[in-house]
Amino acid sequence: MDSPILEPSLYTVKAVLILDNDGDRLYAKYYDDTYPTAKEQKAFEKNIFNKTHRTDSEIALLEGLTVVYKSNIDLFFYVIGSSHENELMLMAVLNCLFDSLSQMLRKNVERRALLENMEGLFLAVDEIVDGGVILESDPQQVVHRVALRGDDVPLTEQTVTQVLQSAKEQIKWSLLR
């Protein structure tokens, strides 16, 4: 078996995808040239969706790549890395993405809510992975850095923990300054 010692590198993630329950792309970010053209990307996404949408297992090997995934209601989240990559690192990215979105969408992770907050999604992924390097894996930090306007959320809709969280955040910041 070819088992090359991994070249130590920070480049871990090859792609992050979010598909809807028809397998259509809601979000896709490819970080290297494994699938250079839009056509190849679409074909890959189709393949990935066909292989994963019926099972609720969280990991698969597809086209020589490790794919970790997670589905919620009508959304499918995928993080893709090399087959030699540490699967748990990819899992950490996936969990961070999902948990961040879950917080930003107030546990309402479904297609419609996501589409109404696309800019939040764009910013969150930008904070989690930069050019294939894991930038942050703590959902709290990600949500904080995305810093969507707080006034969007009426106080009544916030849960107690969220209020506490934001209060804690505020205090921390006032101390840091």
Partner: protein, 873 residues
Amino acid sequence: MIKKFDKKDEESGSGSNPFQHLEKSAVLQEARIFNETPINPRRCLHILTKIIYLLNQGEHFGTTEATEAFFAMTRLFQSNDQTLRRMCYLTIKEMANISEDVIIVTSSLTKDMTGKEDVYRGPAIRALCRITDTTMLQAIERYMKQAIVDKVPSVSSSALVSSLHMVKMSYDVVKRWVNEAQEAASSDNVMVQYHALGLLYHLRKNDRLAVTKMLNKFTKSGLKSPFAHCMLIRIASKLLDETEGGHDSPLFDFIESCLRNKNEMVVYEAASAIVHMPNCTARELAPAVSVLQLFCSSPKAALRYAAVRTLNKVAMKHPSAVTACNLDLENLITDSNRSIATLAITTLLKTGSESSVDRLMKQISSFVSEISDEFKVVVVQAISALCQKYPRKHSVMMNFLSNMLRDDGGFDYKRAIVDCIISIIEENPESKETGLAHLCEFIEDCEHTVLATKILHLLGKEGPRTPQPSKYIRFIFNRVVLESEAVRAAAVSALAKFGAQNDDLLPSVLVLMQRCMMDSDDEVRDRATFYNNVLQQKQKALNAAYIFNGLSVSIPGLEKSLHQYTLDPSEKPFDIKSVPLATTPLTEHKTEMTPISSSKMPDKLTPSRQDIYQEQLAAIPEFQGLGPLFKSSEQVQLTEAETEYVVRSVKHTFARHMVFQFDCTNTLNDQLLQKVMVQMEPSESYEVIHYTPAANLAYSQPGSCYTLVRLPEDDPTAVSCTFSCTMKYLVRDCDPNTGEPDDDGYDDEYVLEDLEVTVADHIQKVLKPNFGAAWEEVGDEFEKEETFALASVRTLDEAVGNIISFLGMQPCERSDKVPENKNSHVLFLAGGFGGGHDVLVRARLALADGVTMQVTVRSSDETVVDIILASVG
């Protein structure tokens, strides 16, 4: 949710995608409002989101429209809306490669990057580094250095990661930031630690000493970040791999200690690193394996997957190390994640005993249809390996494979199965009939031309020799009726082989051939006509030459010869014997399956080694009249590996001459060698007629010189000869640094090892797919037989190996493999001798005290027979 309201008009129905029917031109039209004052942040934000969404969907933006939108967007920097600003950064990054003149935002970004708003600083750095080139980098260097050591983690991480991206582009500038990165590595923030470590390693990876120092420092200080720990493990295992030392170094201890880390990610990384180390002992593996065993029962699917995948790799090299986990693996067979179950089963197949095979095969067949093609190929490969291990189980496997063959699947999957069945047929003669029957059934409904032709070829080769050849005819003829041209042509060839070998089938085959002669395709018609005429002659020799054993010339060689012939028209007919024979590829009997990755490689006909040599030699004027190159030998070392000059030789055999090619390398950096040639003193009546020296031989640049030798004409049996070789040259000392040589030099010489020419140099390997037919074709006119005793050889295997390498001929009919527990064996060898004479050798071997060998040689020329027998004796 104010946004929801102003979007309502766009939404046609609930649950639909508001971005679904976006028109690029309409969105770009809308982007005009970027220019309105005052800026409406909400609307602008929405439009930017739409633009990024379109880019994300793979929409193509032309340079002009992208540039226009980009310039309009730059106005939005006037707004202080946080989200809007952040979306601007994203737009900049997305458009960096599409739009022109993106650098105009440099100053805005630099301002944000050094500003007070922490939320802006990190993203601004990343956007800025995305649009910066080497020349611009100098200008922001000062800010980057400051940002790397910034106390805000997001700023520092952004700066470090961006630096890492820029290492590829401007290594020299980023290298100067090493001290700052060093400082960042001791940060409290886990991500900053990880990014700093990654950057430091990339900057230092070519400096072994620095990497070692860095490792020492960090392994002692103990990093908090699990990611950084994984990185350290990878660096350490790479370093261990390069040092090739034993595993008792502190680096190995570090990796082992990580097996006890609190974080699973780190533990797994360490276990995987140990497993992947080459030549790891069972004792060193044990702790890693037991950690993986624990993971097998984890509730997390990813962890179970990772563990069983790694165990699968261990099982390839050290099946015994994994047997301890068999129980845990058994539990995973029913895992809901089919990938995990498959991996568990294939691992068990490797570690399990013969008795468990049946049960496991049953388990796999229950879910094989649910797994992806990649894993199906893995399963087939495991089965193929198993068949070699337990040949007696072939009937179970064959059944299973034929079931898999009936399922749906892609080309790679089907090919793996077919290859596996073919290899079982070749290994186990008793499975031949069932295997062929399964394959026949498969081609009845096979959409892959390559596989169909491959199977038809196999049927043609094996079918006629089965007890009931007639039953295959129907399958083959069905192909002629139903398939594409390539398959029809292959079917006609296969039919001809049945007709040639089975006299009672001949009349029916001839009838079928005549029907094929009316085919609509030229190639099919041509083949049918040709075979029909050959078969009607009813001559064994013709059948053997034109039906069983096809052309054995090298295809590129034939192409070149034909091209030459057309360039230079003459009355003489083209002589096929002037074409060099095909060198049998060394991988002919490779039993291993090719890995999945290699199947993507283009199946291009690469010129063989010999064709490359032919080209090189033809470029030298002295060698142009020698005719086609008959054979090139393997490289022979004429010096020890670690000497001043390294010389290797290749022997090229032509019809009446030999050319010795000497590839010389000068390993002294203070010498320049000139006029290098190798003087040769033959022991027999060989005659050296020309030396072609290498003009210059500079330090570590290989050069070639040649010696041309004429073979003795009066004595064709003198095939072997020993040459004593001396390398002669002019030395000019030179400056090791500049390579500037002195004006004058002196002559010197260097004695090389002797070079031997043996009978193998005059024989080209030729593969005769049907040895029996070829044997009859040559006939017994010049047959000679002699018996030898090989006293020094202890086993049949050894004897077979010796004979093959001594005569340099091609073993046929897989006779190079001696079945186990037998004390007699027949070896069939085929080759082509010098002037285009086929030589066939049948060696009967019997194992008593030593090995007794009865050699029978047939050839179309008597001297050749004598030469072979004389050289064996």
